[in-house]
């Protein structure tokens, strides 16, 4: 174990350096985009990019090319993110159950900020909607957030997300469904009400 680690941290020979240069040049934008979505802000995203490529650099000679490079990098970034950032303040790291997404009042069925008749780009010009969406995604427990980001934002197939997260496809789809329902609820009237409730609770504590 100790020797394996030692070997891994040795600098790559010139050829490896070239390989790394190409890997970085071709994929840094993908890793940054994913990192930014996971972290929700620029500085943390840059830290994650750095750690991800550092781990990729060390593992480069073990990469056998039996997976797509993007899958391999998503995997490293996801694991690095899991390890790097301890639970953020207020981030609920619990399981989501379907029961909590059953609407109980009239206002919960529709989105608070209507998007009917608008293209998604037009809808997202609304700053308030963008903020609400980002907040909703950031509030998701990390393992749900990762699945939602990979499936619905990075548009990676459920099968590949399974490879990245060491899950079967069924589990990926189940997490994705809950994550979507969570974000939907946050964007409905219920989400706004909960938000106020949270604030008053944290003021009391």
């Amino acid at each position: 174990m100790a020797t394996a680690l030692k070997n891994r941290s040795q600098p790559l020979p010139a050829q490896g350096l070239d390989e790394f240069g190409t890997l970085y040049r071709d994929h840094v934008d993908l890793v940054y985009r994913y990192a930014h979505r996971l972290c929700g802000e620029t500085e943390a995203a840059k830290d994650l990019v750095q750690e991800t490529f550092l781990n990729a650099y060390r593992g480069l000679k073990n990469f056998r090319g039996d997976a797509r490079i993007s899958t391999w990098l998503y995997t490293i970034a996801s694991r690095t993110c899991m390890k790097m950032r301890r639970k953020r303040k207020g981030e609920p790291e619990h399981e989501l159950s379907l029961d909590e997404f059953v609407p109980t009042s009239e206002g919960e069925f529709r989105l608070q900020i209507p998007t009917e008749g608008l293209s998604p780009e037009e809808a997202l010009e609304n700053k308030e909607l963008r903020r609400a969406l980002d907040q909703a995604i950031n509030k998701l427990p990390k393992k749900y957030r990762m699945v939602l980001i990979l499936c619905d934002m990075e548009e990676v197939s459920a099968k590949e997300v399974g490879t990245i997260m060491s899950l079967n496809e069924r589990a990926v789809k189940s997490r994705l469904h809950r994550a979507r329902l969570f974000v939907r609820r946050e964007l409905s009237a219920r989400g706004i009400l909960d938000e106020n409730d949270h604030k008053s609770r944290s003021l009391r504590s």
């Binding site: 550092l54 379907l98 989105l111 809808a123 619905d152 994705l176 964007l187």
Partner: protein, 101 residues
């Protein structure tokens, strides 16, 4: 084998509110399948069943629309691009750190 015609005519429908209450079980069943439905992963007979529920249950129809809108918003949420100065600085930092250990 004779086919018994038991279908009740549509004129005998109950009021929307009580219909929704009566169909509560259907609503919950639908809630579980919504992602698979909007991702087009369900068999055609199940889709048909869902469509007929949606036609009869305004709440579910609004709900599914809001879930679809949520997914579309996620798909289109842009990320600010990495600045070229950051791209260069990050690369340098990674190689420095990698070779320092």
């Amino acid at each position: 084998m004779t086919k018994k015609k038991t279908a009740t005519p549509h004129t005998k429908q109950t009021k929307p509110s009580s219909r929704h209450k009566a169909g509560r079980g259907h609503c919950l069943k639908l809630l579980r399948q919504l992602s698979a439905y909007i991702d087009g992963e369900l068999a055609s007979d199940i889709c048909k069943e869902i469509r007929s529920h949606l036609g009869a249950c305004p709440n579910c129809e609004v709900f599914i629309l809001s879930l679809q809108q949520t997914v579309i918003l996620c798909r289109h949420r842009p990320v600010p691009p990495l600045k070229s100065a950051d791209r260069v600085a990050l690369r340098r930092a990674i190689l420095k750190k990698a070779n320092a250990k």
